[in-house]
């Protein structure tokens, strides 16, 4: 082929691709937010925030929410009706719901279409929509107005590591919460709780945040009778044990606030074994049969922890002695599993099973300790070996010294 013809062909192909590319994008429903898009000629500050969000990624543009004419470059023609402009909170909820409540539109994104319905049932929705009070948050208070990101995006305000702080923007505001009698220390309490530590310090994203217990769009505090079920969504076995015991019936009948009778709601603190009786005494008086039982339970739990700790020290000692600790470590795991089971079973107050598990912990731990004791005995035998060594050495020294003095006398 003629080289000049080849060049013409290449230039032609390049020109075709330049023309075809934007048309392809338009055919996919993606209007570019460049200088040809009228809105950004004035509202350039929103352009960057919008294109960072998920809506831009799926091809939505300014006029899809705000209306107006994006092909116009003057204020009047650009804001041509239908033009919504800057919607208020209630309008925003309706605007978002126009798509997010439509199952046919949401199906392709795998999103539920009942968010508005859920929101209406929540305390937030009641305030905002039913009573018209702007203290209730709208969609954009949690999801941002333009940079709307999916919850699994770590930049999102509703990502597990951010959602509780997002809630705290309002719930830490004493002025806003005052009229509703809601305390403002919940976020700080949560951060220090077992759940908060697990999430923020250990990076465990499975740890619950505000929305896991209260719901997200249908956010409400759980009634006391439902608390064991809410906690039981994760603490399945604890819930099972709890309802097998005497406290479970009380919780079902609403006599006690379920888990919250012993563990505070946002603090969710772990109760140390040595504080069990003191916790029980918050409800049961000293000297009652329940108090005596609590004392025994505490003693058993403390003993199991001590047994495990001593077994752990024994393993450390065996390691120092150079012993193979594979078997000891496996036995320790068994004891640890039994001790964990014990912490579950304590919620049922089943004394027979509690005693059985504590015996198992003690027996296994004792076996490990015996291994360490045998090893220590061997080390003692090593020390005894120095007696004949020194006897021999001193004998050599003595006879050599005698001989040496004899030699010296000979020289003298």
């Amino acid at each position: 082929m003629n080289p000049s013809r080849l060049l013409y062909l290449a230039i032609g192909a390049l020109a075709l691709s330049l023309v075809a590319a934007p048309r392809y994008a338009q055919a996919q429903g993606r209007v570019t937010l460049d200088s040809s898009y009228g809105c950004v000629s004035c509202h350039a500050e929103h352009r960057q925030s919008f294109i960072a969000g998920i809506h831009s990624e799926w091809g939505m543009r300014c006029h899809d929410c705000h209306g107006g004419d994006p092909t116009a470059f003057e204020i009047a023609s650009g804001h041509r009706q239908p033009f919504l402009g800057n919607p208020n909170k209630r309008e925003t909820v309706q605007l978002c719901a126009s798509c997010h409540s439509d199952p046919n539109q949401m199906r392709q994104y795998g999103l539920p279409a009942d968010q508005l319905a859920e929101f209406r049932t929540s305390r937030h929705g009641e305030l905002l929509l039913a009573r018209g009070i702007d203290d209730g948050p709208g969609c954009t208070d949690c999801h941002d107005a333009h940079t709307i990101l999916p919850p699994d995006d770590a930049r999102s305000d509703v990502h597990p590591t951010n959602i509780s702080a997002t809630c705290a923007v309002c719930h830490d505001d004493a002025e806003m919460m005052g009229p509703y009698g809601i305390p403002v220390d919940q976020f700080e309490t949560y951060r220090a709780s077992a759940h908060g530590v697990s999430l923020y310090e250990k990076g465990n994203y499975a740890s619950p945040t505000c929305v896991n217990c209260h719901g997200s769009h249908a956010a409400l505090p759980a009634p006391p009778g439902e608390v064991p079920n809410v906690c039981g969504q994760c603490h399945v076995l604890v819930r099972q044990e709890f309802f097998e015991g005497p406290h479970g019936d009380g919780a079902l009948e609403g006599e006690i606030p379920g888990c919250l009778a012993c563990h505070s709601q946002h603090g969710t603190e772990h109760i140390p074994a040595e504080s069990v009786q003191a916790t029980c005494r918050e409800c049961h008086e000293t000297g009652t049969p329940e108090d005596v039982m609590a004392g025994k339970l505490q003693e058993t739990l403390v003993q199991a922890e001590q047994d495990l700790e001593e077994a752990s020290h024994s393993i450390d000692e065996l390691v120092r002695h150079g012993r193979d600790v594979t078997s000891a470590r496996l036995r320790f795991r068994t004891a640890k599993a039994n001790q964990l089971q014990l912490t579950l079973v304590q919620h049922s107050l089943d004394t027979l099973r509690i005693e059985d598990l504590s015996r198992r912990v003690r027996s296994t731990s004792r076996g490990i300790q015996e291994m360490a004791e045998v090893s220590t005995e061997h080390r003692w035998e090593h020390k005894l070996m120095t007696i004949p060594v020194w006897f021999l050495a001193l004998a050599v020294v003595f006879f050599s010294a005698v001989k040496l003095s004899g030699v010296r006398r000979t020289y003298e």
Partner: protein, 425 residues
């Protein structure tokens, strides 16, 4: 009465021995005669008997006393290290997967395996002490002066070789303490100017302490360094024999070089002295091994920094203190001091050996000792601290979002990035 009984027993034994000698029974004396037949031709070509008699008859200067046994103690410890080291190699397997397990097996299952290992470990410590004391005596008595300056230099080289022996052997147990100590030291080595990074890479054979490092350290410890040490030792002893032991400090000039003449004969006087010292040293080493065995740490784990490092070698403490408290600067001071000691005989050539005339040399030596001892004491104090490499090492976090340390609210929108201008979303 007793004397009479002893005398009759002695007579009986003597008569029995004579009877055995006179016996024609080949089963008892035949073996000895056979060995004699074998030995005869060897002795004719290599007069071993004559050499042995000459050695035993070697006369040492009358002033040679107990203080001269320090070098002998160092040599005895070296021999113990070689013997126990060979025994250890029978069981030790130099690979990251097997090294720790083989030490465990040796200590737990092999008869007297613990003794061999702990005697090896304690001898490695005591040899450093013995060498420093030996060199201290040589230094104070100015025995490094001509004509013995070469031997002083060889001695210093031997000290360095012993340091290298200890350093290369320290990693071999492949437990958390040894692994992270070597990691800390090689990491610090990178900070040395000019050649630090290259040297650290060469020592490790990898970017981190790994199986490659273990192979290198093992090869150094059991293949290369023993030959170097043996060559230097032989040269050291030859020079001791040629130049003789330095005269007393109050005697000007050189000392008599031994051989025939006045003095104390090696046999039996010096041999008996050596026997006394050796017995005591061996008993002390075994006692230390039995009462203070080197603990076995957890197997080395590259992903877990230990909370504390149990150091079991004198110089490991010194190295940690140098790294932690002063960094490479004091290390250089120590190297310069050691270099100063090495070239001392070149500058201090006056025949006088009186301490009052050698103030500069004394200051240099004292400074070295003070820095060394201080670093050791400081290193002992920091046993419960994690390795310094852990402080600089970035925490191992999987690909997760940054965990907020402050309460977060909805964040302001980031300003526009230049590359996004006019971009197509």
């Amino acid at each position: 009465m007793v004397r009479k009984a002893l005398s009759s027993i002695g007579t009986a034994v003597s008569q029995t021995w004579q009877a055995i000698k006179a016996s024609t029974d080949a089963s008892i004396l035949g073996a000895a005669r056979f060995l004699g037949l074998l030995y005869g031709p060897i002795d004719r070509s290599l007069p071993i008997d004559k050499a042995l008699k000459k050695s035993l008859g070697y006369r040492l200067a009358p002033h040679v006393g107990w203080r001269h046994s320090l070098g002998g103690i160092a040599y005895l410890l070296f021999v113990i290290l070689v013997v126990t080291g060979v025994m250890l190699v029978f069981y030790y397997r130099p690979s990251p997967e097997e090294a720790h397990a083989s030490i465990q097996h040796l200590v737990s299952d092999v008869a007297f395996g613990w003794l061999v290992r702990d005697v090896h470990a304690w001898s490695a410590n005591l040899i450093v002490v013995a060498l420093i004391l030996h060199m201290g005596r040589v230094f104070l008595e100015a025995s490094y002066k001509p004509p013995r300056e070469t031997n002083w230099l060889i001695g210093l080289l031997l000290l360095v070789v012993v340091f290298m022996f200890g350093a290369s052997g320290y990693l071999l147990p492949w437990d958390q303490w040894s692994y992270w100590l070597v990691a800390e030291i090689t990491h610090a080595m990178e900070a040395l100017p000019f050649f630090g990074a290259t040297m650290a890479d060469a020592v490790r054979g990898d970017e981190v302490v790994s199986g490659a490092t273990l192979s290198r350290f093992f090869a150094m410890h059991v293949v290369l360094l023993p030959w170097v040490a043996a060559a230097l030792l032989v040269y050291h002893f030859i020079l001791v024999r040629r130049r003789g032991i330095a005269p007393p400090m109050d005697v000007a000039g050189d000392a008599p070089k031994g051989a025939a003449g006045p003095g104390v004969p090696f046999f039996p006087t010096q041999l008996l002295r050596s026997l006394i010292v050796s017995s005591l040293v061996i008993a002390v080493v075994i006692t230390l091994a039995a009462f203070f065995p080197r603990p076995v740490g957890d197997p080395a784990d590259i992903s877990t920094v230990p909370e504390s490092i149990v150091t079991t070698w004198l110089l490991a403490d010194v190295a940690r203190a140098l790294i932690r408290y002063v960094g490479p600067s004091l290390f250089f001071v120590l190297v310069i001091l050691l270099g100063g000691l090495a070239v001392l005989p070149l500058f201090d050539r006056r025949p006088t050996r009186d301490l009052r005339d050698r103030r500069m040399a004394l200051v240099l030596g004292a400074l070295f000792l003070v820095v060394f001892a201080s670093a050791w004491v400081a290193g002992r104090q920091m046993r419960d601290t994690p390795p310094s490499i852990a402080v600089e090492q970035e925490p191992v976090v999987s690909e997760q979002a940054p965990i907020p340390t402050e309460p977060l609210g909805p964040r302001p929108i980031q300003p526009a990035q230049p590359e996004d201008e006019g971009g197509v979303p």
